[in-house]
Subunit: 451 residues, 2 copies
């Protein structure tokens, strides 16, 4: 597969260099839109516009839908108003919503002016739903059937309207008031005898979401019920749109990326890493780093307060990085397990007690294993068994602390209706650092009978 | 949606308690298999078996496919051999492969004995492909068409064979030697006039994967081309199976979970968090914690070597946690951006130079911002401007170091053909800790003219 693809790309390159544009045009018309989009993405802007103009109109639309935000905006800029209008009108509704979402408000307004009144109404309707809701990403391009239809009438309607619809594999039976009555799978329709009423083989209790359902929730529902298409209804149970499986794959990937970023203390970045500007990336990372460093300042106060301990036994300082590092690592591990458990639905709020008990036991086991190693090092250093004992006890304590803080903070976030993923590794590490230092010096003060 | 679901669950509960089993049976037969599976999962084993036996046979199979590994094994154990044979035979091939994959080898062997010779051959064929390959998860239940067929003949074949197939929305045209010639979308078939040859409207250059393609790669290909179904061919280009979109959603979620775990220094856990035993969880976490603590031991050697610096200016110790914490946080951030970029295909190996330059500049900007805060604290502590200057310079240095190490290690892993996600936050934090300490004390020694 990869081989064929690379050969195609090489051919495009060659024809382009030799300026054999007629052959190039023919070759492009046989290629997959996703591959053409990839070729375009690698070209300089001027060449990109040129190649894009070589594409047959129907392929051009599809290729356009595969391009990234910045490339789209730039291409649109190079076209005449009539050309822009043609492209925008031909795009499917959900892709158009995504495009408008990416562009600055001013550009959107200009683009909306290019739409036919009917199309504009549609795009506007989609845009009025709040961000990240099912309403925002749904497409109204579904096939609706009446309750009174027979299989053959339904098939005739599907044939007649298929060209402008997102999917023909699932159609929707609606009442005269447009309330959702059931879904019909093309499979059942094909297999039914022509005179059977649709109500006989429709699914009369279909799974659905509402326009204000969160898109992540909608993706979970589709995944749970193995659905390729899900109907979206408004507050009056009227069918207003559908979500299809390609929307869901995009959402799942996007949400996973956001969780990865949040858990590393990065505010979600809209662009891909290489497309994002350095200032954007810096800004997205700075907030949590500032929060952490301000919190971390407490550690200097703690150390200042216990400087009499450090001055008596300077060897205690040698184990500070090891100790707080270990606490931070276990905290990150526990938080990751809990946050991921929340995301995939394996852990719910009520599991707090079970999770905490599990983390206490596993923290104790991990702590003991690690303490052995750390105290051997302290012992062989010749600083006396007091330091070795302090280090051993503190490692066990700090690992259990890491587990507790790491497991508890995501639950606390959930309770406050905050995404648990904001309890990022950096923040948890910082909290555990500070509590760990307090623990270490209190243990030291008692074991070594200081102060 | 949620409301209706909860009401259904409450009704099941009530009927069960009142022992109204006839009504319960009728209610269950109207419910979604995914919901029934959820009810079963919450029941005690004995009740679960009882409820399962109330289900009509066709629904029972579907519910069984939605259950988790442990529950499945337990249910199987409670059945007679004939019952087991019936369930196993009725399962779709890919679900059966997944089931066999989860069970101990001995149980699999016993279960294989229950299959009809033809089914056993099929299951075995699937099992011989390596783990995580497309061959392993594909289903051979696709519809094949001949090149000589017309639209109406093709439709007749689809009608005749649909019941046993995974999808009827895409059929596959194969040569007499079973080589893949093209794909036919039901949509085009429905819209074509009956006498058109299938070769006229089939996609003659379909996107495909091979049996040894990695499942993650296959998922990426399907997502890239927005495919609901992808054909799988063997080394001789013969069509041997298909992957469908529900396989892909599962893979994408599973791979994301594994990446989250790896990045927190946890070996992938097969069970869900609450199902996994404490010893399993502890073992999966211990490896990287041990690696980190052994690496972290170097920090105690470094501090021991520079103890003369600490003894002269004990205030330097106050900033150790802040300094290494900040380095670790920036390292985790940079690594997350790069690893996620690799996963979603936005960053490739050749981007090393661009990524590193970006991280150097952003590291410098972040470092300056954070250094201001940290040095104000050092300054107001009254330890003299030497310490403040040391802290400021070291924060800038350690943030740049964190960015470099965090961005570089995933590239190094990729180069060595290791999953970049094993360059976990904990490991990167530990490496940055050690390099950061060296930097800090070298800066201190020079600025404060010690040793």
């Amino acid at each position: 597969m990869k081989d064929i693809q690379n050969k195609l790309l090489a051919s495009v390159e060659k024809l382009f260099e030799r300026k054999q544009f007629k052959s190039l045009k023919e070759l492009l018309s046989t290629m997959e839109p996703a591959d053409i989009a990839e070729v375009l993405a690698e070209k300089a802007p001027a060449e990109r516009v040129f190649l894009f103009r070589l594409l047959p109109k129907d392929i051009a639309i599809e290729v356009f839908e595969f391009l990234e935000g910045a490339e789209r905006e730039e291409l649109l800029g190079s076209f005449t108003d009539t050309e822009v209008a043609a492209i925008i009108e031909e795009m499917s509704d959900d892709d158009r919503t995504a495009l408008f979402d990416e562009l600055p408000a001013k550009t959107v307004k200009k683009l909306l002016a290019h739409l036919s009144p009917e199309e504009r109404k549609l795009a506007n309707a989609l845009l009025n739903y709040q961000a990240d809701s099912a309403g925002r990403i749904m497409t109204p391009e579904f096939i609706d059937l009446k309750e009174t239809m027979t299989a053959s009438q339904a098939l005739a309607r599907i044939r007649a309207t298929a060209a402008k619809k997102e999917t023909i594999y699932t159609s929707f039976v609606v009442s005269p008031e447009r309330k959702l009555k059931g879904t019909v799978h093309l499979e059942d329709l094909i297999l039914a005898s022509p005179d059977t009423p649709v109500t006989d083989f429709m699914d009369g209790l279909p799974v659905f979401v509402t326009t204000d359902t969160d898109q992540e929730e909608a993706a979970k529902t589709m995944s749970k019920y193995d659905l390729q298409t899900i109907p979206v209804v408004d507050r009056e149970s009227r069918l207003v749109g559908i979500l299809t499986f390609d929307d869901i794959l995009d959402i799942v990937q996007e949400e996973a990326t956001e969780d990865f970023e949040r858990m590393a203390g990065i505010s979600p970045v809209d662009e891909s890493y290489l497309d994002a500007g350095i200032m954007t990336l810096t800004r997205k990372r700075l907030t949590w780093l500032l929060v952490c460093i301000v919190t971390q300042l407490f550690s200097s106060f703690i150390l200042e307060r216990y400087s009499f301990v450090l001055e008596s036994v300077v060897a205690l300082a040698f184990f500070i990085p090891l100790l707080i590092g270990t606490g931070g690592n276990t905290g990150t591990q526990a938080a990751t397990l809990v946050i991921r458990g929340f995301t995939v639905g394996e852990i719910v709020r009520e599991d707090l007690f079970r999770v905490i008990s599990k983390e206490i036991v596993s923290g104790f086991l991990l702590g003991i294993s690690l303490a052995v190693l750390a105290s051997i090092r302290a012992w062989t250093m010749g600083t006396g068994y007091g330091v070795a004992l302090t280090v051993a006890a503190s490692v066990v304590g700090v690992v259990m602390l890491g587990n507790l803080v790491g497991a508890f903070l995501p639950f606390a976030a959930k309770k406050l209706n905050i995404d648990p993923a904001v309890m990022s590794g950096p923040f948890i590490t910082t909290v555990v650092d500070i509590l760990g230092l307090l623990l270490y010096f209190e243990v030291a003060r008692r074991v070594l009978v200081l102060g």
